[in-house]
């Protein structure tokens, strides 16, 4: 059975993939369906959903189209989630490989730095970083990556420690390859699968952290974010709860989709490896 088939037979994985596909479609179509600034004032303020079909999800406190904000918010969430996870995985993999392969003092120093980062709660670290540097999309990505690269670093190091004792690594040494070349060409690619398996969790966590930062007013104020929408709606929670509920549901479905799809991929590939 091919991995794709196996993937398609797992209902959770299919659900996840569908949610993820919907999210990506939203993010990609945002500019086509809702051209112009999603924060532009489009109608009367606090219009409830399903009243006016030109504004199907109603408007917020200033009269901005909630559906347009939702679509453009998908873009921000996905962009931040993917960018932060990619940054965390790259940094983590590089640090882990260097530490594991070099050993000795380099390993000690790198791992103690990792420990130091791990002892600080990652959300607190992101919060502090954004408050000091000032909120913008790039800063938020770096802030989230700062707190999440340690997990991939530890997993990569553990993998590398076992791989570096393999015969083909010894072979590469014998033919005189540069140690860095061995580390990144021979060892790292083989250490990657377990590291990549963490990516779904990291992306989901990054999306949530971004939402939490925006909720606290530390997101990029010039972009629509779901966390920002929830925070904005909180002031009118009793009178217009849909303003918080709609982006809240979007956030839940996104995180769920990313997680389920990621799990599905990991499981199907794990089974394949187990069989072979």
């Amino acid at each position: 059975m091919s991995p794709l088939r196996r993937f398609l037979r797992t209902p959770e994985a299919v659900t996840g993939a569908m949610l993820l596909a919907a999210l990506i479609a939203m993010a990609l179509s945002a500019s086509l369906l809702f051209p112009g600034d999603p924060q532009a004032i489009a109608g009367p303020a606090l219009l409830p959903p399903f009243q006016d079909w030109s504004l199907p999800l109603g408007t917020d406190r200033l009269g901005r189209d909630v559906l347009a904000e939702l679509f453009h918010g998908a873009r921000t969430s996905l962009a931040v989630g993917l960018a932060a996870a990619a940054a965390a995985l790259v940094v983590g993999a590089v640090v882990g490989t260097l530490a594991g392969f070099a050993g000795g003092l380099v390993d000690e120093v790198l791992m103690r730095i990792t420990d130091a980062f791990q002892t600080v709660p990652s959300f607190l670290l992101a919060l502090a970083f954004v408050s000091v540097v000032g909120p913008s999309l790039g800063v938020v990505v770096i802030a989230i990556a700062l707190g999440t690269w340690t997990g991939p670093a530890r997993v990569a190091r553990a993998e590398v420690l076992s791989i570096r004792e393999r015969d083909y690594v010894a072979g590469a040494r014998v033919i005189g390859m540069h140690p860095l070349a061995i580390a990144f060409r021979e060892v790292l690619p083989n250490a990657l699968p377990p590291v990549l398996a963490m990516s779904s969790v990291i992306v989901a966590a990054a999306i949530l952290t971004e939402a939490a930062l925006s909720f606290l007013g530390l997101g990029d104020p010039n972009r629509v974010t779901w966390g920002g929408m929830i925070a904005e709606g909180r002031a009118v929670l009793r009178t217009a709860p849909f303003l918080s509920i709609v982006p809240g549901i979007a956030l839940v479905l996104t995180v769920l989709g990313v997680y389920l799809a990621g799990e599905g991929i990991v499981e199907t590939t794990a089974v394949r490896r187990g069989l072979s």
Partner: protein, 536 residues
């Protein structure tokens, strides 16, 4: 209907503030006050320094005005809008060089010592003039205070000082603290700053950080039969959404200073047993202002500033951001001010086409991306409404081809960015009008103010004519001549637009029906509450 007198002031306030009159149940005017009881109310900030003589701000007054009293308090129907407190009368000399206060007899400090003119002299010379945020300007020429007897204090000024200014400053700036407590040691470090001792109807009880402030009844208070309440508890509720639920659950009986968000008022006014009151803040008007950094060459051009003024739909701001609980502004003095306001100033109607034409005329044409130029916009974080207006302003500027990038900061970082580092192009600020333009309004446009003074002209604006006008008004003694100068001042500001006044608003109280004598003076939330009572 005893006690309900229609004055010009209440009429003005009523029409300007668009009272939610249908939502206001008739307060129990005819009832006789009951004695006893504990009033529990919401407090949203926890000031550490509670000395109102040093920190003259509403957050401090909210708590300490019940403990430490001023010479006079604002009043709806008193002469010159004042009612006596520690002073019974005040008289200004014709040459503007002295003001004589006759003080109340038989007043005791909370520690039992008598209150005398020496306390007034000490507070004025040692605290208001050198240390107080607002007193530094108003009392800058105060040279000495003579005390011919225990109940007379004569303020002597080195330069003629308008009596109108001193009078208007009394409610906010004249908190009297005891000399015998403050004369030892450094005033700023005195323990009484955190546990104030005053003459007021309530004594300071205790403060538990993050929980509550407790004030207890002063049995020796000078007011006959006052105070009515036994205790006041300020329950610390920093989350603005929790005040409404606390009121509904009867955990608190009062939420002042708009602790209940405006968006919730409509709903809460329908809850039986609760009343929404928009009176009692007429003397505490906040102004929604677009501060402008004139160092930016585009913004130094008056045509660009006029274009921005034309791009703002003030009615939309009042209706949508303030949900009607505000009034549109025409200039630097709010419409509800009975002494100085003039409507005879240039106005800027909402007109996007005209704004675009003005920008074209100024030579800033739209580029390939449809933008003329880019600006940094810093909305002050203190109020929900200032932040929301920032979002609106960004959209309003986009309509005229100005790309505004929002920068969000916390309070401390905002004050530093705008008033010290000048790292802004436009900022949204909420300055307070305190009954006289000379107290805290003229410094918003006056030149020559050192860097770092918050809520002052830090936009690099300099207009010699306006500076001369401000200087002349500050030494004009005749009340009507001085008032006319300030009318001219409003005209000049509205013409040259050193800043853009958008709206003026004040606060809303929500209380249970059982709380009596609410909102009976224009600074009610920060007055002494000697006559506030609870029906059982």
């Amino acid at each position: 209907m005893s006690g309900f007198t229609i004055s010009r002031r209440t009429m003005l306030a009523g029409s300007a503030m668009l009272l939610a009159s249908t939502a206001m149940p008739a307060p129990g005017w005819a009832q006789t006050p009951k004695r006893g009881g504990r009033l529990v109310l919401a407090a949203d900030s926890e000031p550490r320094n509670l000395n109102p003589a040093i920190v003259a701000s509403n957050g401090v007054f909210f708590i300490s005005s019940k403990i430490v009293e001023t010479l006079a308090e604002a009043s709806f129907d008193g002469k010159d809008g004042l009612a006596p407190r520690l002073a019974l009368s005040w008289e200004g000399a014709a040459d503007g060089l002295s003001v004589t206060f006759k003080l109340r007899d038989g007043v005791k400090w909370h520690d039992g010592k008598p209150f005398t003119s020496a306390d007034v002299a000490f507070s004025a010379l040692q605290i208001w003039k050198p240390l107080q945020n607002l007193g530094r300007t108003v009392f800058k020429d105060l040279a000495s205070v003579d005390t011919p007897d225990d109940l007379t204090a004569v303020f002597k000024f080195a330069k003629p000082t308008p009596f109108q200014l001193i009078r208007n400053a009394l409610p906010a700036l004249s908190s009297v603290v005891p000399k015998h407590i403050y004369e030892v040691g450094k005033i700023e470090d005195n323990p009484a700053n955190n546990a104030p001792i005053g003459t007021g109807p309530f004594k300071f009880g205790e403060y538990k950080a993050g929980q509550y402030y407790r004030l207890t009844k002063n049995a020796d208070y000078w007011g006959k039969d006052e105070p009515y309440l036994d205790e006041i508890i300020y329950q610390v509720l920093p989350d603005r959404t929790s005040a409404a639920s606390a009121l509904e659950a009867e955990e608190i009986q009062l939420a002042a200073f708009s602790a209940v968000p405006l968006a919730d008022l409509d709903r809460i006014s329908k809850v039986p047993g609760l009343k929404v009151i928009s009176k009692g803040y007429e003397g505490l008007t906040y102004q929604l202002v677009v501060e402008i950094n004139h160092r930016r060459k585009e913004l130094a051009d008056v045509k660009v500033r006029q274009a921005i003024a034309h791009a703002i739909d003030k009615d939309f701001v009042v209706k949508t951001v303030f949900l009607g609980y505000a009034a549109t502004a025409t200039g630097p003095v709010p419409k509800n001010d009975p002494q100085f306001y003039t409507a005879d100033v240039p106005t800027y109607a909402f007109d996007v086409a005209k704004a675009n034409a003005l920008l074209d005329e100024a030579g800033y044409v739209r580029g390939a991306d449809d933008n003329r130029f880019s600006l940094k916009l810093l909305p002050a974080p203190y109020f929900n409404e200032t932040k929301q207006f920032g979002d609106y302003l960004r959209q309003a500027l986009a309509a005229i081809g100005i790309d505004a990038q929002l920068v969000n900061n916390d309070s401390a970082a905002h004050i530093k960015a705008v008033y010290t580092d000048h790292a802004f192009d436009l900022a949204v600020g909420p300055p307070v009008f305190r009954g006289d333009p000379a107290i805290s309004t003229t410094i918003l446009v006056q030149s020559g103010i050192p860097d770092g003074v918050p809520f002052s002209n830090q936009g690099g604006y300099k207009n010699d004519a306006l500076d001369a006008l401000i200087a002349k008004a500050s030494e004009t003694l005749d009340t009507s001549a001085r008032t006319d100068l300030y009318k001219e001042f409003q005209k000049e500001v509205a013409t040259d637009l050193p800043l853009i006044n958008v709206a003026e608003w004040s606060f809303i109280s929500v209380a249970r029906d059982t709380v009596g004598n609410i909102a009976n003076n224009p600074r009610w939330a920060v007055s002494n509450w000697a006559d506030t009572y609870l029906e059982s």
